[in-house]
Symmetry: C2
Subunit: 221 residues, 2 copies
Amino acid sequence: MIDNLSIDCVIFGFDGELKTLFIRRNTEPGLGMMSLPGGFVELDEPLDASPVRRLKELTGISNLFLRQVGAFGEVDRYPLRRVITIGYYALVKISDYTIQPGVDAQEARWISVKEVPELPFDHRLIFDAAVDKLREMVRIEPIGFNLLPEKFTITDLQNLYESILDTTFDKRNFRKKLAKMNLLVDLKEKQTNVSHRAANLYKFDEKIYQKLIKKGFVFDL
Amino acid sequence: MIDNLSIDCVIFGFDGELKTLFIRRNTEPGLGMMSLPGGFVELDEPLDASPVRRLKELTGISNLFLRQVGAFGEVDRYPLRRVITIGYYALVKISDYTIQPGVDAQEARWISVKEVPELPFDHRLIFDAAVDKLREMVRIEPIGFNLLPEKFTITDLQNLYESILDTTFDKRNFRKKLAKMNLLVDLKEKQTNVSHRAANLYKFDEKIYQKLIKKGFVFDL
DNA sequence: TCAAAAGTGTTGTCGCTACACCCATGT
DNA sequence: ACATGGGTGTAGCGACAACACTTTTGA
């Protein structure tokens, strides 16, 4: 273990609103507080493998969208000694996985990004930076799809984007732009058990999705 | 000194083409090779202060545009031991400063981004990532202005953007868009000693520049 | 007088925004 | 039958790209 180098993860999910996964710490410092899941980097582990390992422990997820937020290195950001941390953000489909609190966590919980509690150390800084990155990234890659379940309605997608960007879109215009991208596959299925007209379900077209990412596509909605 | 944590800087400048500042190493490992200027972080120094100090030593520059590129942490990226490095990129006005090779450098040189030599460790990776960041950033902030001298012509500015984005623009359209931004102040001066019609000189309007940055302006040329 | 870059407007096309009503389903 | 969200088309406007010639200056 490298005791002066850690990672911290901002894990985004969506189930009607944008949420982040927090754990309640069961070790000092910060015992009892909600905080970002993180941990120290192992000596024989590539840096970027560290958050992958941590997320595997915590959620069982091994295949996910993961990016660096940045390095945080104020001298006294960690109270016990000088530790630099690398922030990461991840996108996961909440529905796909069950959360398993790791050894240093008593509890793991999805919390709306609008209701984030007080956080220890500089975690608030890391969290805010991650949200900023997410908002930048959402315009460059169609990352929204990493957050939705396999089958979703166009309204789900619209809600997701509105939730991330904290804005609203015109329904018709949103659908028109989306249609032009050819990104959605009509599953010819409908919602069930909804007390209104059932919406059509879609999945996204993996190939076109990959192509768009490579192209440096601007996903402007 | 924290001997497992370093920083490396990709310093961009412009004098007709986009260039980067490299040093020739006079210490092992990598003795004699051109490499990115960098160094280890001090124990009592905030992380982001480290590249500032390094650039001050190297160029005398203390006020500059500096951003993180990312953290690089493959297990064996550095041959002697496990070292994680944080990459930074900086924008400087070549004309404003004289380069002073630091204690661990024999020579410092501006090299065109199209002629970068073989680099030690993972410096090529860091360099490429920095160029990518620069290209992203150039569309979001009018950072071009950090690279030009105080007085410049519109053609200089256009060359800069073409050089960064590796493309060409229509002269009339470029000027029209620029005019709409109200970003330039006409200095009512002209070039001298050019063997063609002398171009008008401009500086940029600091206040509007700051306002645009805050607004999350998209600098789309 | 020639070479080299500066500077300047118009037009057609495309994309964006704004906007209102009927449809299907469960209660 | 009513409440709730699903789903659809058009018209006007603004933004963008394409395009060529005259001007100024030094050699």
